[in-house]
Amino acid sequence: MTEFLPLAILMTSLGIAPAILAMPDRWTRVRTAVNLAAASVKVALVAWLSLSVAQGAEYAVTLAVAPGLALELRADALSVLFLALSAVLWLLTTIYAVGYLEGGTDRSRFFGFFSLCVAATVGIAMAGNLFTFLVFFEFLTLATWPLVVHRGTAEAHRAGRVYLAYTLGGGLALTLGTVWLHALAGDVPFVPTGVLGDLPQSHPLTLSAIFVLLIAGVGVKAAQVPLHGWLPLSMVAPAPVSALLHAVAVVKAGAFGIMRIVYDVYGVETVAALGLATPLVAVAAVTILWGSFRALAQDDLKTRLAYSTVSQVSYITLGVALVSPVAAVGGLAHLIHQGIMKITLFLAAGNFAEGRGVKTVSGMDGMGRLMPGAMAAFTVGALGMIGVPPLAGFVSKWYLGAGGLDAGQPAVVALLAGSSLLNAAYFLPILHRAWFRDPPEGAAPRRRIGWMLALPPAVTAALVLAAGLLANAPFSPLGWTRFIVSLEYL
């Protein structure tokens, strides 16, 4: 039994991918049925897994690759956090993608790699040691590339090349770091509070160098400044891909990697003792401000959202790097909160582009009247990003602020205040245009938005509201992260 669940969850996405890739493009119904069935089964399985893990059950599967090197899938509380996010959002994004790509070309290729991409995140979430993490992390890089270049335009190919150059470079750093750490410490399983024992005392410099390599490796995907250049370019991808990239798969895999390395390889106390926590806070702070600052001057809606992601994902890094359980709660909860908020924004932005052909901020005039449902969802997402209560973003910010004070760094409150102001400065003008300006003369719908496109952003917007409004209820993202943090800060 303990081996069944992790494998089953992995196979729901990994197992169907070859079948979908092999299907002829015109088998729309079959493909959609398989996709949705798999995604629904996965949500159910993950729900089962979360309940069991909350009751203290343990799940592990090990496959020895070579002596001293094993692929291990394990489900702990932190995995469940990421799994739940990816399972729920995979289902919603699949529904959306089916509607979005209706009548498009190469759909089997798209959905096949879509499944592979999600399978990779499942592997990353459940990786039980650093080696397994590395394998799935690289797998994710390759599985995402066909999605980025899906449209096949010159622009898409350019973005794809930049994406590969950045992420493979990061992968190289991660691989080097992993090999080096293996040479030093043997197998590196993920264990709360770290596995290095007394190595930090004997090899502080080596371990610091390895830490920098590892964090740089995952930091590319987490879009930490100055490694963020690929993210705004990847906006050429279709809307569901952008949504997945920003909310679940790539960016989150990077942020999740930072968590694993800090919490479960080194242990947050060790990171602080090695003097590496403060530089990491500084990187996060610079990223938060720089991302927001760059977002201000983007007229392309998706590019503006992309820079916003650069900024917001660093909240997670910030929460991890501030050595404080309160900040950790904020950072971990933001993994979920940022995911549901950003996916809402991207799905809504996709609807504006599909329904009205609007892709720029300056074209948003009157959108509240033209597409009230999508715009309402966008509004919820945007206000959440600013940190307006009672939405999800407020909860993250509240805990991060309290955590900064708890860690003796009151400057964090100023940082959050500044970030909120910048967020307001680049989101509120959009809301003003959409709700309080008249639509341009002769605006005509480009295409009817069916339920498959309209429903997912509405659901995620409701989740944004629920995650904030019911933050203190059991099984809220906040409640779950408190549970995780109680394990790390024993």
Partner: protein, 564 residues
């Protein structure tokens, strides 16, 4: 005996908002709009006081409670929202964007009523933010250039205020460990935290120099929205300050001096700038700045002389309730004036509105006189202030009286608008009736009645003389002064939108260069005016706080981490 659950106070307008998402229900719900404030009114009048409610699952663990002070605020706030809602439904009956206005209205109402009953910091902040942001929609409703400019200034200050409040609350909660909003007045709260919270709340109160949004917003918003903005939301700022400032505890002379300086500046500037306005609603807004400055003066006195606070607090509640009703009656009366074209009828309407105007000016026998007398008595107990407080209060009364004359004169000349339905006058009539009945004074302890002294009439008499003199000079000398542009010093920033740029040609194809992420794809633009406004005002406030802060004590050493 039915006990009213307190959560119903904010939940009632919110439920109406949620239901209005169903289109067939909308007409019926619009008619119910004034009733959304009914639970709040019942809670304020209920005897015994409704029990506190604890909702652990809500936000970060929230609760609702009704303190005596909140009860008084809740009474007049609920009544005002009901009256304004009534007029809004009538006034906007044929407005195509009515749904949007009513949604913002209900959201702002939820926030305003909710913050009065919120027990914990998160709930208070939530409702406060809800009110501030939703009011942006009320200001922007008309969609003209004036609204756009007012909206920009409003939202910039509101966002900066929200962020300051957030930072202050976070600091305060961390220092005390308390999660109740009432705990933010504890001595353990660091001075910076109090300063930040106060900055956020003073924006809402409209204290000089954070007042710039106020005349613009009040002039730009539809009349019922101006009525609640002025009557109720400004009072939310006062309520917040009365809650978080360490009043009645130790004396804090530096803070008192800063606040008193802001208040005195407001008392002088409000009439000076307000008299030069050409829009009656802007004049009324400046009068609100003056009145709110008077209340800020009361707060300053409470910080300077803790012993005087009990009396001051009661006087401030009286003054707030009185001003809420009187000012709301005037704002609600503006559409009543627009609806009347016949000179005789117009004169009758103006004469009716003269009652709240006279009450604001403190005519003996009115609620205004009672409230101002209470404040005067309480302020008299502050040591060291006796030398100038009398003069300050005289200036305040004189300024108000002049502003009221100016507002009524402008109203009398206002052009009739055929689009305004005549029945939008009814709520104004009820509001005037409430002022006349002195109902505004019901929820608070009665002030010891005192006979009016002839000196109390002096400001009114001087104002009348000055006005007559000015009128005579203008008539004889044929002087005509152009009214000031709205927005004071910000007016220079007011720019019309640039004409849309001609369609850009597509960028020439680039040779693909794999590692040139900045090139090509990104279309950079200048940030929006609103964005610049937010950042500019934030920078100004940060600079002001950095220079003005009377050496803040160091942040307390980090608390030892709680294990587990």
């Amino acid at each position: 005996m039915i006990t009213l659950p307190l959560w119903l106070v904010p939940a009632a307008p919110l439920a109406l908002l949620v239901l209005s998402a169903v289109p067939p229900l909308r007409p019926a719900l619009a008619a119910l709009l004034p009733l959304a404030a009914l639970p709040a009114l019942l809670a304020a009048l209920a005897d015994p006081v409704p029990m506190p409610v604890r909702l652990d699952w809500l936000l970060l663990g929230s609760g609702f409670t009704l303190t005596d002070r909140a009860r008084a605020f809740l009474g007049f706030t609920a009544l005002l929202w009901a009256l304004a809602g009534w007029q809004a439904v009538r006034l906007l009956a044929r407005d195509p964007a009515r749904g949007r206005f009513l949604a913002c209205f209900l959201l702002a109402m939820t926030g305003n009523l909710g913050l009065l009953v919120a027990e914990d910091v998160a709930a208070f902040y939530t409702f406060f933010a809800m009110m501030s942001l939703a009011a942006w929609g009320l200001v922007l409703h008309g969609q003209g250039p004036a609204q756009r400019f007012a909206g920009r200034v409003y939202i910039a200050l509101a966002v900066v205020g929200e962020v300051a409040l957030f930072a202050g609350l976070a600091l305060g909660v961390h220092a005390t460990g308390a999660t109740e909003i009432a705990g933010m007045a504890a001595p353990a709260v660091p001075a910076q935290a109090t300063a930040l919270m106060a900055a956020g709340l003073l924006v809402k109160l409209g204290a000089v120099p954070l007042h710039v949004w106020l005349p613009l917003a009040h002039a730009a918003a539809p009349a019922p929205a101006s009525a609640v903005l002025s009557g109720a939301t400004l009072k939310a700022g006062l309520f917040g300050l009365m809650t978080v400032l360490p009043l009645g505890q130790a004396s804090w002379p530096e803070a008192a001096a800063t606040l008193a300086a802001m208040a005195l500046a407001g008392l002088v500037l409000a009439p000076a700038l307000g008299l030069a306005q050409g829009d009656p609603k802007a004049v009324l807004a400046y009068s609100s700045i003056g009145q709110m400055s008077l209340m800020a003066l009361g707060l300053a006195a409470g910080l300077a002389a803790p012993g005087a606070w009990p009396l001051l607090g009661a006087a401030l509640v009286l003054l707030a309730a009185h001003h809420a009703f009187a000012k709301a009656a005037l704002f609600l009366g503006v559409p009543a004036v627009w609806a009347t074209a016949r000179p005789g009828l117009r004169a009758a309407v103006i004469a009716t509105l003269a009652l709240p105007a006279l009450a604001l000016a403190g005519l003996p026998g009115t609620s205004g006189w009672v409230a101002k007398d209470a404040l005067k008595t309480a302020l008299g107990g502050v040591d060291g202030w006796q030398a100038w407080i009398g003069a300050a209060l005289f200036v305040a009364s004189l300024g108000t009286a002049l502003l009221m004359l100016r507002a009524l004169a402008l109203l009398a000349r206002a052009e009739a608008k055929t689009s305004v339905p005549a029945d939008s006058a009814a709520p104004a009539a009820v509001a005037v009736g409430l002022v006349a009945a002195g109902l505004s004074l019901l929820p608070v302890a009665p002030h010891a009645a005192k006979a009016a002294a002839p000196a109390d009439l002096l400001p009114l008499a001087v104002a009348a003389a000055l006005a007559a003199g000015a009128l005579a000079i203008a008539r004889l000398g044929r002087v005509r002064l152009a009214p000031l542009p709205p927005g004071e010093f910000l007016a220079i920033l007011r720019s019309e939108e640039p004409p849309p740029r001609p369609l850009a040609l597509p960028a020439p194809p680039r040779r693909s260069r794999a590692l040139a992420p900045r090139r090509g794809r990104e279309r950079s633009a200048r940030p929006e005016h609103g964005a610049l406004a937010i950042l500019g005002i934030a920078a100004m406030l940060a600079l002001a706080m950095a220079t003005l802060a009377p050496d803040p004590p160091p942040v307390p050493a980090p608390v030892v981490r709680t294990e587990g």
